[in-house]
Every structure is written in structure tokens, then in C-alpha cells.
Symmetry: C2
Subunit: 299 residues, 2 copies
Amino acid sequence: MDAAEVDPVRAGRPGTLSVVPQTDPTAAVPTSAFDAATAVSRGDGGGLTAVLDPGWDVGGGVLNGGYLLSVAARAAVLESPHPHPVALSASYLRAAAAGPAELTVSPGPAGRTLAHSSVVLADASGPAVTVQATTATLGAGAPDFSSPMPAASPVEECFSIAENAHLAPARVTVPGLTLRVDSRIDPLTAGWALGQPADEPVIRAWMRFADGRDPDPLALVTFADALPPTSWALGRFGWAPTVQLQVLVRALPAPGWCLVEARASEITGGWIDEDYRIWDSTGRLVAQSRQLARAPRGA
Amino acid sequence: MDAAEVDPVRAGRPGTLSVVPQTDPTAAVPTSAFDAATAVSRGDGGGLTAVLDPGWDVGGGVLNGGYLLSVAARAAVLESPHPHPVALSASYLRAAAAGPAELTVSPGPAGRTLAHSSVVLADASGPAVTVQATTATLGAGAPDFSSPMPAASPVEECFSIAENAHLAPARVTVPGLTLRVDSRIDPLTAGWALGQPADEPVIRAWMRFADGRDPDPLALVTFADALPPTSWALGRFGWAPTVQLQVLVRALPAPGWCLVEARASEITGGWIDEDYRIWDSTGRLVAQSRQLARAPRGA
């Protein structure tokens, strides 16, 4: 495939990116791949269900933790008086299988400012992800204090993971996630992809959905776990399964590209942390996350 | 009180600090204030209970969130095959009252590497804190990568909160926490205490228990929420109740002082985040935390 054919920036036609399959081509109103894949329905008995989409994997058929958390967040919001997830903490008990899933929301205290709940996402084999959710109503006000966006190379000079999948180490399968979340890695943190690992576990990328759907709080929850493990920056490839992930959504993001920066503070004893900060296209900090994951073995 | 009389660094007698009441003066083996205040017992029916100590408050009788999380972590460890809390995510549903509390631990998947569980801490009025806990066994190995400790003023040049409580704004009550956790704030981040607020919401301090008990993973959980809100650095005083707090313990800390740095990334719409990193006396990163809290009003 010619890279120029699938580059939404150069083509200026982000909605027509042909590598993203239409999840529901018969729908009267076009639905973004993300909204379709995270849809939560209420059954006749009142219970909430979803159909986990195998296309949001991180390789080897394992569904992305941020994607699963977005599904749980949608369930939390459905059962809350508030529209936005502002704090989510998830424990990943085991890999969730693609296909039908049940979402059980247990409401906690709720008030004018915020509401607490817990959410259990279960597949046919039982609970896979447990989530503590805090929902609230994010406003449009300017921040009193906000960390400025770091310097980053322009999008058009960045390294597209999807377009360069052929460069991946042989043992790494190309994740479906990289076809749905368009990540453009700052060349200053992309040396690992070209055989030149760095000294610091940092990866910085522009990010948006490949089909052009604009970011919102639910999207930020997926973005907050959508980069490769930062151990890859050191040339240590391999899967880094998430153990616990906390995502904070701080503001409603503006349309367009987000800048996502992930950084590890310590890699030791088979464990790694991943610390994300996300700024929207206006340069405002809109989300943060931190996770503890198992560190990839391998060189 | 003469500051020199209660300064364990100058006095070299950290175990005899007279401002810390002995929690159990009749005990044959001296028990640290922290171990006594976080003790968890198993009742005849097998349930776990604790007695929340009113002395670990942050002002106005409100118990410190890190202290409550240490109690929950102790319960999680008691019911786990692993001895150390490595990831804890807590939702603070409402202020917990001092006095008897019940701890209900629901075990999740457990294996050779880690174990999951959830813990509910309830006082007489019902659930106050819900926690997702991951326990594991931390080793003694050197890290593959670790963020270096930032430069900080020597302990003896730092600003003791306990010794300078008389400088606090009239509306701020002196927290019991500051008598039990000895915090020495780097003068470079202590301007707010002397009427000279800074431009950045950062507070950095040396920290250890006032009675000289050395740090361990359970102690780090309390340290990870023991500094004043970083909004105070900007001169915005007032209480910042924690909504959700995640603590990661990354290594077994060496004896002695820890360096604790707290930083807010965004203050907006009545919300603030607090991002902690903790290094031990050898300069190794041993813990991280992030919380979402309500931002103090007031000037």
C-alpha cells in the first residue's frame, strides 16, 4: 500500500481512510469506528451489554486496556447524573475476549458536583476488568493553572506507526489499534523504530482517530493507553500487559490532533510504569494517566 | 516550644521525639505510632477490623487519605499470598470517622507474580473508602531504569511544618498528620509559608515518621498523600479533599529520610491533580502517586 494513499493529513480526507473498516455499513447515520466499538446497550432486563470489537487489539488478539476502559466509562456515564468520566481506576484481572460483554454498574454516592460508581466488565468467562469511576460535569472555563504543551515536531514531520508497520520487529504483530488510532510519533522519540534506541523511556506522538472522529472525554480514555510501551524507546520490545490504570480527564478537548506524551519513571523487577499527559490542539492539558504494567522481557 | 528541643536531626534522638504521644505506652515491645494507628485485627468471625486514630487528621477532624489507604493496604496484604502493596486505587466516598472500622476484602485472581483484590473500608455509617489493590513481592534488585532524585536542599536547611505551625493562616488548623509525619520542606518550595507564593504548584520535602520508624511500602502509601495541597504553593490555602488516589510502590525503601515531590499539572473548574514521586535515602525512586481532588477555594 502506498503510504500517500492512506495519509489523512496529506490527503485532507480523514473520513475516507480506506484501511478502517466501517463497523456498521448499513447504519443510516455514519457511526465512527470508536463509537460503534464502545457502544453500550440496555437489555430488556435493564442490564448493560457491549460487543467488544476484535479490531481494537494490541497484538496477538489482546484487546487494548484503554479501549476496554472507554467501554466501562460509557457504562458509568449511562448510570450517572453526570456526563463525563473525570477519574477512572481500572484493575485488569485477565485479558477480555472479543464478543459479547456484560457491564455491571454499582452506583455509589452522587451529588451536584460528582458521582461515584464501580463497574465490572465481564465476558463469557467472568469478570475481566473492574473499574472505580468518578463522573462529573466538565465546564468550558479557562484553567487557573495548566502545564504547557511540550515542544513537538509538526504532525507532517512525524512517524506514522500504521504506515511503517513493516518496520516492526518480526515477533511483533501489527495491532488493530494502530489502524484505528492514528499515532504520529515525534522523530525525536522514534529512534527505536529505526534501530536507534534512546536512553530515556519517552514516546511523544500526535494522535487522533483514523476516521476523523474528534476527541471527547471517552476518546481521551483510549488515547491514555494507546502508545507502544515506553520500554520500546530503549529498544526493549515485547508486550507490557497493564495491571492497574488510572485515567484523569481534566477538560473537554478541542477538535483536531491531541499531543500524547508517555514516560516511564522506573523499570525494575519485571514492572514498568507508564505516565501519560495529553494536550488538545489548543495546547491545553486535557488528560493524564498512570499505569503499572508488567515489563517486556526480550532485548 | 523550642524548635531545637524537638528537632530529631539536630538532637540525633529520633525515637524520643516528645511531641508524639505513645499510642500504647503499656506495650512490652514499643510500637511505632504508624503501626499502632494502622493495625488490622481479625475478629472471631474472620472479619478484619481497625480502629481509626483521630491523630492522623489533616485538619478539622478529617482523616488523611493516605493514612486510610495504608489501613486498607494492610488488610489487602493480610488476605494475599504476597506481602507488598504495589498498586492501590482508592475512591473516597465520604470522610471516614475516627474509631472502629470494618475492612472487607474480596479476593480476585492471584498468582505467582501478583494478586488482585478489592477492599471496602467502612465506619459505623457505612462504606467510606473503596480500594482496588494489587499485591506482589518486591525484590532487592537494582532498577533497569530509574528517574534520578531531583536536587534538594539538605534536611537541616529545610522548613519544618510542625515547628512552624504558628505561621499557618488563622483559618488553617494544625493537622495531627504533621506531628506524626515529619516533613521538612525545601526552602525553594516553601515561600508560601512565609507570604511569598510561587508561580508553580510544586512542594518538595524530606519526610519520615516523627518517631523514627523507618519507611516500608505501607509507609510510602501514607507519604504519597502527606504534603499540603500544592495549590498552597500558589498562596491558595484551604482543604483539598481527595476524590480518587492511585499509589504505586516500586521498590523497598532504604532506612532514613525520603524525598517527596508533589506537583499539580492543572487547576481548573474546582479540580486539582496532585502528582507525587518519592525517592529513598539512596536516591532511588520508590513510589509514585496521582490523585484528583477538589481544589481549595479561597485566596
